[in-house]
Amino acid sequence: MVAPAETHAAYDSKVEGNVVFTKLDAAVNWMRKNSLWPMPMGLACCAIEMMASACSRYDLSRFGMEVMRFSPRQADVMIVAGTVTYKMALAVKRIWDQMPEPKWCIAMGACASSGGMYRSYAVLQGIDNLIPVDVYISGCPPRPEALLEGMMRLQRKIEGEASISEQKKELVNDLS
């Protein structure tokens, strides 16, 4: 087959059917969203539901997000599961800062999203006061299905990101 001069791509007929055209952003996003490595920030009862989500009955790994990493340097999505007390708040922020970009954050449950029922001197009123949150999950605590739904929403969000032009955006923002 001879390609017309004005086409931007051509391929050998021998590999026809094995070549897929796509945008670089779409390819990168597809790879990112299907291998989310969560950093489990388990702080209260939500952590129990998060553990249940990872276990055999609900099985997070069906959606490619089962590689729970307890080192922030190996993780790319932080699941803040539970009540963030002021005593813990800066530790959570510090772990978030240690995660390499690209990174995302899920606020799991009422406490992480808004302080929940703890309208108190001791509890941070939502982790979004300290770190940017991508997905909020309602519930007290949310059921594993809800966490799965939240993770899948995050995957859908990642699909639409301009991942090439917005590399290291937090770092760039810090420097400027």
């Binding site: 708040a89 029922m117 309208r119 001197y121 509890v123």
Partner: protein, 189 residues
């Protein structure tokens, strides 16, 4: 020996230091002066075999004098009797530690200090236990607002004011049915 007889024995032993004794549904409470508290607690431990200190707590009677009150809950595994000892403390006065009598009192007293700001004389390690060192308030005092107060300690912690919207989220104890007892936001007077 039953708790009732122990209270009687304490009265004979300490006389004037005991201000009042009450009994409510089998629970015996001894109200003592602050000066009499430690010798009495030591006597309870050494002579009356109260080998287990269940809890130490404190009360804030704001507007009254003396303002604070210590509550000790003692229990004995030999005789299975329970005794509550209370002592009132004026604001700013130290309470003698009982951590040399019951080792468990160490952390209980640290919690009382952390939350209520009552100091313990002779305590081996009187630091905050729940809040961080340097937090400027004592949050369980009656004059501390429920929503908290802002504070800032760089690199350690900060606090803010919690939005209470329509008031604290509380149950109505004693309401006739479960629907009415459900926790709801209540306007603060």
């Amino acid at each position: 020996m039953k708790a009732e007889q122990m209270v009687k024995a304490l009265k004979e032993q300490f006389g004037d230091a005991i201000l009042a004794t009450t009994e409510f549904r089998g629970e015996h409470t001894v109200q003592v002066t602050l000066a009499g508290a430690k010798p009495l607690l030591k006597y309870c431990h050494d002579e009356l075999n109260f080998d287990y200190l269940v809890d130490i707590s404190s009360l804030d009677h704001m507007g009254e004098e003396p303002r604070f009150e210590m509550v000790y809950e003692a229990y004995g595994y030999g005789h299975l009797q329970h005794l509550r000892i209370k002592a009132k403390i004026p604001d700013g006065e130290d309470v003698p530690t009982v951590s040399d009598i019951w080792a468990t009192a160490d952390w209980h007293e640290r919690e009382v200090y952390d939350m209520m700001g009552i100091k313990f004389a002779g305590h081996p390690d009187l630091r905050r236990i729940l809040m961080w060192e340097g937090y400027p308030y004592f949050p369980l005092r009656k004059d501390f607002p429920l929503a908290g107060r802002p504070s800032e300690m760089p690199e350690v912690a900060f606090t803010g004011i919690a939005p209470l919207a329509d008031g604290p989220f509380v149950t109505s104890a004693g309401a006739p049915d479960t629907v009415a007892r459900e926790p709801r936001a209540k306007k603060q007077e």
